[in-house]
Symmetry: C2
Subunit: 190 residues, 2 copies
DNA sequence: ACCTGAACACCGTTCAAGT
DNA sequence: ACCTGAACACCGTTCAAGT
């Protein structure tokens, strides 16, 4: 294993300032926040930003790893507190809320469940996919969920629910309803 | 009613060239195709483009009215050919296919079902919403669909299904499956 | 080794001048 | 009345020069 040589002090300082400012900028202006602006607000040249984060995706990912990994650990909490099916539903709900309310997170979570999305998603993708696999598996083992569902399909459909709720209104007021419609189906109760 | 005074010959020619070129450009480069490029390819100054289409939305809308109104009339065809529930499902399927495959259509259909989306959607929004209202109403009258569903909710959820399918793969291979999952629900068959 | 910031390319939008 | 295209503002990206 090649040692990860430590960053020079000024490099590390810049790296951290960039991350902090980027998180703020994405929160304020969405995922298309101006990169030049981020560099300026962090007090570094634009070249420095590109040195640390070659693509917008890379910066977005770095700015939100924590948020995304929190979703992973949250899954385990819920799995302990609630029965499998309820745990899954509550987690999907929180996932959708984050998708809509944390600006900049949506495209990231989207590309994490995109097929053929190349290498891009590493840390952040696996965290969410791992959580989904555990929760979906547990619910299926109880017979509370269709056995033919792949975890990634559930994630994609949840992303769809988040999108639908976003159309309904900027906040996530419709998430619960649309999730219920998805799980219960659009056909009438029998 | 104020007469719509006819366009000057050169204005009309430019208008039509712009629409034709715009449709091609959106198809080729997606909804973010360069406006400057469209003007150049149409052989007009960029100011002319802005005179006819003050916003990108306006141009997108004008370029796709036909496509969208075809979806409306298609609904009526299906209503004649098939029983209500099947007609709705087939229409939603075709709607999702168009959403994914016709580049540039997605944002337009999205904003047509967005709450608080201001005035933007006129012709194209009403066409789709009218179709949905007829098909959903007929299916509900037969007891084949939950009675508490609003047509616009069905459209939003269909948009969500299209989004989910898009994540699964660029084409629409998963649309049927995801639509079925939505209508039947994620819970196991009983 | 890392940073800076000027330079370049590109795009959207406006508007004075032209017909 | 309508068109043209230069001009402006803004952004992403690269890279030579600097420490």
């Amino acid at each position: 294993m090649p040692q990860v040589r430590p960053m020079r002090a000024d490099a590390r300082r810049n790296y951290e300032r960039l991350l902090k400012v980027a998180a703020e900028a994405f929160a304020e202006h969405g995922e298309n926040a101006s990169l030049d602006d981020i560099a300026k607000r962090a007090g570094v040249g634009s070249g420095t930003l590109y040195r640390h984060f070659p693509t917008r995706q890379a910066l977005l990912e770095a700015a939100y790893v924590d948020r995304i990994e929190a979703l992973g650990t949250r899954a385990d909490e819920l799995a302990e507190e609630l029965p499998p099916y309820e745990a899954l539903m509550e987690w999907l709900n929180e996932l959708c809320v984050a998708t809509i309310q944390v600006r900049g997170l949506k495209s990231l979570l989207g590309s994490a469940v995109t097929d053929g999305g190349s290498v891009a998603m590493t840390a952040c993708g696996t965290s969410v996919k791992g959580a989904a696999t555990r929760l979906v598996g547990a619910a299926q083992a109880q017979g509370a969920l269709r056995a033919d569902l792949e975890p990634i399909e559930v994630l994609r459909l949840a992303h769809g629910v988040a999108t639908a709720s976003e159309l309904a209104n900027g906040q996530g007021r419709e998430i619960r309803r649309y999730l219920t419609l998805l799980t219960e189906g659009l056909r009438p109760e029998r």
